[in-house]
Symmetry: C2
Subunit: 217 residues, 2 copies
């Protein structure tokens, strides 16, 4: 619930609950990096679309991978887009439903989609996306061929206009409600990951590499 | 990876990987109901925004609660919006990075935002949202007063144009890559929830109700 500098513009300023707004660059980066996927918003024929997409950050650049629909690529190239990453941390159950809420960390980043066409930048972005999903994985599987690189869509967005919003801690009930005999508190939410499950056609004798066992973010 | 009837229009038809598209109404409803939150897309001054929001489904109506920004309410009332719910089920690690992917279930629903003003519908929607987050909770905490109801923003969207996209199972590598000595498989992802943590100001002697212990979705 802090509120510091950087990347804030009138469009990304948190209006409703300013105490939950945070504009610190490192806060924004931590959330972007921890989130496994993002939701990309774009406009097509006046209709907004929101599509889940894998992303990765390289410095101040956000890369979006594998457009799930060709519509998306066409609609975000050189167009205004929004990239949102949300991490859920808890259900906040207050004494009143009105004050019940969620603990979360989210980033909303606005920018313009740029199609990555330079093969070197495309390879860098591809590596970043693979490492974003599972650090250490880039060296563990087969790298893309030139043909695969050409068949891959990568969109870049510069991180120049973004804000983070964070809620932590207990419910905040109306003062008189604290006397009610109603339980209140938080149910924590964790992203949890199981142990690697071998592909059915795995070459006998192979085992999952160390960086994939006990996977966590 | 099935593909059946219902709710499909040219705008929601899955174009890129049609075998992953599913338009069965019950499939769509299960995903909407299991997802704790959605991401709402709307357009404001030509700029798309994507905001995480709690939702609930009542029949064919999706209710969106607690606009995190007043900007959102203004921008989705009687305007085209997109509601996307994404459930992540696994990291799909192929022998090639090109074929690496995610297992997931997602719904993209398009519609028009309608501000709920009728007090009875607003109360119904409020209850649905509370029960969506934690079934059994509506009867366990203080219900909204008329004043609180007025201070709450609820947007309704009819579910008439939606599609689900689902990926399950093992990686699908190029045939020649199966001979590589590279591990491949899936790391399962679970949404997991801890036991309820008492509010610091909880009245002594109160314990979390049964429906909140061992919480799962």
């Amino acid at each position: 619930m802090e509120s510091t500098s950087a990347m804030s513009t009138p469009r990304t300023k948190i209006k409703r609950l300013p105490e939950r707004g945070s504009y610190d660059t490192s806060t924004i980066e931590v959330i972007l990096d921890e989130g496994l996927i993002c939701h990309v918003g774009f406009v097509h024929d006046g209709q907004p679309f929101v599509i889940p997409t894998i992303h990765a950050r390289v410095g101040d650049t956000l890369y979006l991978h594998g457009s799930p629909a060709s519509r998306m690529l066409r609609s975000i190239r050189d167009q205004p887009i929004c990239v949102t990453v949300t991490l859920l941390d808890g259900l906040v159950l207050a004494r009143s439903h009105f004050h019940s809420s969620m603990n979360y960390r989210s980033v909303v980043a606005l920018g313009t989609g740029r199609e990555v066409t330079d093969p070197a930048e495309k390879m860098t972005a591809f590596e970043a996306v693979v490492e974003h999903v599972a650090r250490g994985q880039w060296d563990s599987a087969r790298r893309p061929t030139n043909k695969e690189l050409k068949a891959t869509s990568i969109i870049a967005m510069e991180l120049s206009e973004a804000s983070a919003k964070i809620r932590t801690g207990d419910p905040e009930d109306d003062e008189e409600d604290y006397e009610l005999d109603i339980w209140a508190g938080v149910i924590p939410i964790f992203a949890s990951f199981g142990q690697p499950i071998d592909d059915e056609r795995l070459t006998p004798g192979l085992t999952a590499p160390d960086h994939l066992t006990d996977y966590e973010r």
